[in-house]
């Protein structure tokens, strides 16, 4: 819908400097290894142990240069795709309105049969998995909706021992929370689906960091071939080290609509100048 009177802005968001950083901590994979991420400790206090990820792939994830930044399947990206059946049930998984947050069915064991740590999403029954994906898709940008692949990716690879929950349309704050058996939120993820350019990205980050309380992950779906590196460079280039320091525990994860991981960035990492 056209809105009368909306003209091109006077470029208030255009950085006036040329401090575009050359390198950020990008990772082609969009899912952290166990223990990675902006996990809290059950409170809103940023985890002191969170270390910014280097851009060298030292955390086990290849850099975009190593992978061409268009790796089709990162960890969590090669999962079976849930079909579109609406299995929206009444039990668990969604925090809706004034309902008491409930917990989806989850197997008591958080380890797979081979003893490896199990993805918490895999511990959910198929109906709950479907419902959580449905919730996220229904709750996204109606003109550029989250794909089912990307919705499922957001729900995957949570901290071990947690259960993913979706907030739904009735609850403020982050879209996805990974909650441990004590009911503490260990990790928050906020979804954004951006069909526009840098201005839209900038606004999305500004709101998402508040929604996750400066501690968690912002997952952003973009169009294929979006130059997300340039967005990160520009965003960081307008901020001082002190300001960036407020984002120590904020990671941004990009995926395109084809399900390709485009990069994971820790926002506090200021890359060296070009």
């Amino acid at each position: 819908m056209e809105m009368a009177g909306i003209d091109a802005p006077d470029a208030p968001n255009t950085p006036s400097n040329d401090r575009t950083p050359a390198l950020v901590g990008a990772h082609a994979g969009d899912s952290p290894p166990a223990g990675h991420g902006s996990s809290g400790s059950g409170t809103d206090t940023p985890s002191p142990g969170h270390a910014p990820q280097s851009g060298s792939g030292a955390d086990g994830y290849p850099t975009p240069e190593q992978t061409g930044s268009r790796t089709p399947d990162g960890p969590g990206g090669d999962v079976p795709h849930l079909d579109g059946n609406d299995a929206h049930g009444t039990d668990g998984g969604t925090l809706d309105g004034d309902r008491t947050p409930d917990t989806p069915d989850r197997d008591s064991a958080s380890q797979g049969p081979d003893g490896t740590t199990r993805d918490p999403f895999e511990s959910l029954d198929p109906e709950t998995q479907q419902r959580l994906v449905d919730d996220l898709v229904a709750d996204s940008n109606p003109e550029f909706p989250l794909t089912r692949d990307n919705a499922e990716a957001v729900l995957r690879d949570g901290p071990p021992g947690t259960t993913p929950q979706s907030a739904g349309e009735g609850v403020q704050g982050a879209d996805v929370k990974f909650v441990d058996d004590n009911g503490d939120v260990v990790l928050r993820r906020e979804n954004k689906s951006i069909s526009g350019g840098y201005n839209s990205f900038n606004s999305a980050i500004d709101k998402a960091k508040d929604q996750i309380d400066y501690n968690g992950e912002v997952w952003i779906q973009v169009r294929p071939c979006t130059e997300v590196d340039s967005w990160i460079h520009r965003w960081q280039g307008t901020r001082t080290d002190a300001r960036l320091g407020e984002y120590t525990n904020v990671d941004v994860v990009f995926r395109d609509t084809n399900g390709n991981p485009l990069g994971r960035y820790n926002l506090v990492e200021r890359p060296p100048p070009r």
């Binding site: 819908m1 809105m3 006077d10 309105g97 609850v171 906020e190 900038n202 606004s203």
Partner: protein
């Protein structure tokens, strides 16, 4: 929800973030909520509420719209200075916007 709402004044090229729209089961918007799940309700956030009143005074006579952060036009809207946004992006922090205002 990943959607966010803004109060927008196109003629003044100014906007104010309202928050995530919280909906009733029938889809009707019940309220907007800015911030995390532990944040006070919008009406209990004094800076936001004061800024809303000042925004209304500042834009008297102009057309105002409540817009969501999607659609082609949002890329333009997102370039407007936002009341309460980060100064680094050309926005106007609440502290600056409300300084000396007694309304």
């Amino acid at each position: 929800m990943s959607i966010y709402a803004y109060l927008v004044c196109p003629s003044r090229k100014l906007m104010l973030g309202l928050g995530k729209p919280l909906r009733e089961p029938d889809g009707k918007i019940r309220q907007f909520a800015a911030g995390s799940e532990s944040a006070p309700s919008n009406s209990e956030q004094s800076d936001l509420t004061k800024a809303l009143w000042k925004f209304l005074a500042d834009t008297t006579g102009e057309a105002l719209y409540v817009k969501f952060d999607y659609g082609e036009e949002f890329e333009t809207i997102a370039g407007y200075p936002e009341i309460g946004g980060d100064a680094e992006d050309g926005n106007i922090p609440f502290e600056d916007y409300l300084r000396g205002w007694s309304g």
